[in-house]
Symmetry: C2
Subunit: 190 residues, 2 copies
């Protein structure tokens, strides 16, 4: 079972800190489609996904959604900057499957960060992922980016509608559909 506490169980965290976390942690069910965070919200929280799948995204001036990340079970998702600094949210977060999450407010996050290097590792890793994505957007064709996505997140491809993957890759659903058509064609040429 995916849970925040089992995640840090192997870490060198004092029992009293664990007890503290256990007391303050809130678990919540989130039905598919439910929006947990909207741009402008002040109560920005982080979520650890126990089951299901969430996503975070921005909406631009032309009302287009741009998906920042997917979070299947075992992942954290948040508008990190606005949780930590208590600013109003920049992103939206919603459930793309019926899900169950554990809620971490900024106090709990501070405990998490202070008690194990794991939190810092996650932040560093997040930066590396974002940087790689920027380089891919700047240098790779859509086809290469799609193939990279398939290899990096094979489990997500199965669960998420194509138009959301297109949104993540930064292209229209039509463009992604055509690339998929080409890939099938070149694969059949054996």
């Amino acid at each position: 079972m995916h849970s925040f506490l089992s995640l840090i169980a192997e870490e060198d965290v004092p029992q009293e800190t664990i007890d503290d976390l256990k007391r303050k942690m809130v678990t919540r069910k989130v039905p598919k489609g439910h929006i947990l965070l909207r741009k402008g919200d002040k109560n920005s929280k982080a979520y650890f996904v126990k089951s299901g799948c969430l996503r975070s995204y921005a909406i631009d001036e032309k009302d287009k959604e741009h998906i920042i990340m997917f979070a299947p079970e075992g992942w954290f998702i948040s508008d990190i900057d606005t949780v930590a600094n208590r600013n109003s949210a920049q992103l939206y977060i919603d459930a793309i499957e019926d899900s169950e999450v554990e809620i971490l407010d900024s106090e709990l996050i501070n405990v998490f960060v202070a008690s194990t290097p794991l939190a810092l590792q996650k932040l560093n890793n997040r930066i590396a992922v974002l940087q790689k994505r920027i380089i891919m957007l700047m240098s790779a064709t859509l086809q290469d980016r799609y193939i990279d996505f398939l290899e990096t997140y094979p489990e997500i491809v199965q669960r998420v509608p194509q138009k959301m993957i297109a949104s993540y890759l930064g292209v229209t659903p039509e463009a992604l559909s055509k690339v998929r058509g080409e890939l099938l064609k070149t694969k059949d040429e054996h």
Copy 2:
């Protein structure tokens, strides 16, 4: 004068920690063009820029440079993920002006992170900046991205060659030049 120690002077850091940092901090001059970090290097460090300007960048399979960030005086720059996790570097870092830097190895960074929330704020802010850039790459035209760059980093525009700004924006120098031409034209139409 920009220095790491004056940066944390206002923070609530114990004197002994400051003394410790002061003892271990190394300052170094870096002439324009000198490369501090190459892809594959194992001795990845973070740098606080006292004067001058550095940049970090990736080189893709077609030998094209993609600039990740500029760091004028007062900024940190590093391949964060590889410093913290002691992996081999993914990025290059070099000086685009004669510069002076303070060197922070992973031990010093740990002290920094542990002694003040400032380090965490910087990481969170970095994530926010990277996310915004991804959204800009996915949704905005080159012209809008360039205008945004001008507004966000006016001091950098003055100091950095256009081809590097083009590299940061993810386009060819020719494309940026044409956008600049259009902007001048529409501005002259008064």
